[in-house]
Symmetry: D2
């Protein structure tokens, strides 16, 4: 059994938690508030914009055999950005000038920090988990969403044949990379797998929590009474 | 007027909000719960451990005249880690095996991402704001804390003559760097200044909120009822 | 007058020296030995392969407005690699398994080191000078080469309308970037400009010197008799 | 048998070639021209200055257990720079304003590129080979140099007990790192080992060749007559 399947099984409870996130279920059921979906759109747009330099940094260290696919993946990101702009206009969501929510900003920093500091297999793990999570999350939505939903184009984007093939390639290549690392690096791959999944969950949570920044947009917790 | 003073004035309301954070006031007044202070200790210990590679990355790009001080700053970080271990043992706080809270992890990623991607003056801005914030925050605590408090050694560490000199050096050098950048980079320095301050506030908030991860350690928000 | 024109004038003697390099003139005149051209082909193929991760690293730090063109530039590099493979087969030159000559290896390290450590405008300067040098160098060859020469496709590649437009874009953007940097960074841009030009000259020299490595493939110099 | 011993045996002929380089033998025998030694001094001074950011970048990615020693190694580099300044003044060698020779510049780029792009074990290999080469090279000189030679302090620096211990630590740690990498990375470690050794040889060669830049400070080769 390859690394990816092994990790997906190890992480099953957390992975299922992600797939049952209220954001996904309410988008599937058509009960999600337009404002909530709009929050996600504006923040995910920022995230995808940050994924372009992340992939650039991956190309900077990729083995030759990975380059072509990663370059094509940047192209796909640029088309996704176009999709966001088109959908945002259709739905009256403002993208320009959106400030990143704390969770979005954090996830973007995680991408950049990983690209710069982690080994290539470690960074590849982050890329795989993020894309695999989107394939499966939007497949959940696809199972029940009305064809005429304004959010249908997002569903189609991340459940398309092309995207499925890309995730399949990532999976096969990560299995191959993971099969050739030593024990310490293998442990680190597992940590990156888990952490990326947690960031994915946090990102869905961001959509429903709104774009707060700890200690700024919410009442400050009181350290004295906490134990009282 | 130099860049630092200018930014400190621009950011005054937010800066004051930081200096009045309940974590600081309750530590000053001796009313803070030991568990709350312990949460901060364990997380800040992780943060300082991450500051070592951050400073390493700064040295990797520093002008010659900055190297000696930055190398000395790594030495100071290592002594701080020793202080944490000693205090943790004295106070019965567990440091080993602590998992980073979301906010701590995010701030660490921000450090690493900045070191890797930002220009040297931008990364230097982050370093300055983080150290200046500690000097002033712990000066607030110093003003009222009892001499015999178990947390007094932290106060002494970040309000010492040596630390004050270091922050003074950072301030003078950042003023000098900022005076020689173009208009676009200057705007980015201001953004880094503001963002770092927000991360500092988030970090104090972490101590009182506890080490939660969005969507995992708290009830998930309900996207339907939010607008209801 | 923009930065590029200013630097091209400052560097005129060295730039002309490059444009009159025997490699270019003998390729133009059809007198170049096939083996010599083959040495260049195999080494430049290695260099272009290294330019892919260099551009990836540029994308990792580029402002949004630069991304699309830089992604397209990677695509162009991949087509160049295809051209090399096709020409190598036609001319009986072995590309696979070629070890980098010292000069080629050094220039590649310079690319990677610059991408990782220099500011974005500095790295952009290296990119501009390398591409501008190729546009003008191959324009020299174009002026006299026989249409039926087996090396004509290289000439066409680097003197095409599309390549000219790309270099024009680089020039305009570098002028813009350079207009907004401070005095110290401006000096560094000038140094990068000059150094890259020297590497370009060294690369032409490599073709005619052959792929030697200092102290290994040549008789070692005698330090005693040197002053004798 | 550990990785280091294995590689030292594999590379024995090349390693011996380095240890018998005329620069070392003539320094040992006291026949080296002062100008030749001065060329090396000025260029090695530049190299050591570049090793400081290289070690900074290593600290940026080092496992916790390596940090202390690497920080101490930066301190040792700073003392070496002091030694160079003192010896340069004593011997009338000009250090300030020295431009890097091509070989020196190339080796520095190799350091920086490796620090930025290679895995940590790969970068650690470069560090080990460079330091091990100096320990053994200067041990060759030590075997015959007159105690009163003005170059004796360099010999003492790189054959001291402390330096020997440091190289021993590097060797043990590299053996440990190499024992835990996969097959592909292991092959890359071997390549880095060999390449670094070749750069070391090139650097001794630089001292005796002088600070030329290909195609600039020497007559340009004639591509036509080369095969004639």
């Amino acid at each position: 059994m390859g690394f990816c399947r092994e990790q997906l099984e190890r992480m099953r409870p957390l992975w299922d938690r992600m797939l049952h996130h209220p954001f996904l279920l309410s988008t599937r059921d058509g009960t999600i508030a337009r404002e909530t979906f709009g929050t996600w759109m504006a923040q995910d747009h920022l995230f995808i914009e940050a994924a372009v330099p992340f992939l650039g940094a991956m190309i900077a260290r990729a083995p030759r055999a990975h380059r072509e696919t990663l370059v094509a993946a940047i192209g796909a990101l640029m088309e996704e950005l176009e999709l966001f702009r088109e959908r945002a206009e259709a739905a009256g969501v403002e993208l320009e000038g959106t400030e990143p929510a704390f969770i979005c900003h954090a996830y973007i920093q995680y991408l950049h920090a990983t690209a710069a500091r982690a080994s290539y297999p470690e960074a590849f793990t982050v890329l795989y988990v993020a894309e695999k999570a989107y394939l499966e999350s939007w497949s959940v939505v696809r199972a029940g969403i009305e064809r005429g939903s304004p959010w249908m184009p997002f569903v189609e984007n991340w459940t398309s044949e092309g995207f499925r093939d890309y995730v399949g390639w990532l999976e096969a290549e990560l299995d191959r990379l993971a099969a050739d690392v030593g024990g310490e690096e293998r442990s680190r791959l597992e940590r990156y797998f888990e952490r990326t999944l947690k960031y994915e969950i946090a990102f869905w949570e961001l959509a429903v929590q709104g774009a707060r920044w700890p200690g700024l947009d919410e009442p400050t917790a009181d350290p004295v009474s906490r134990e009282g």
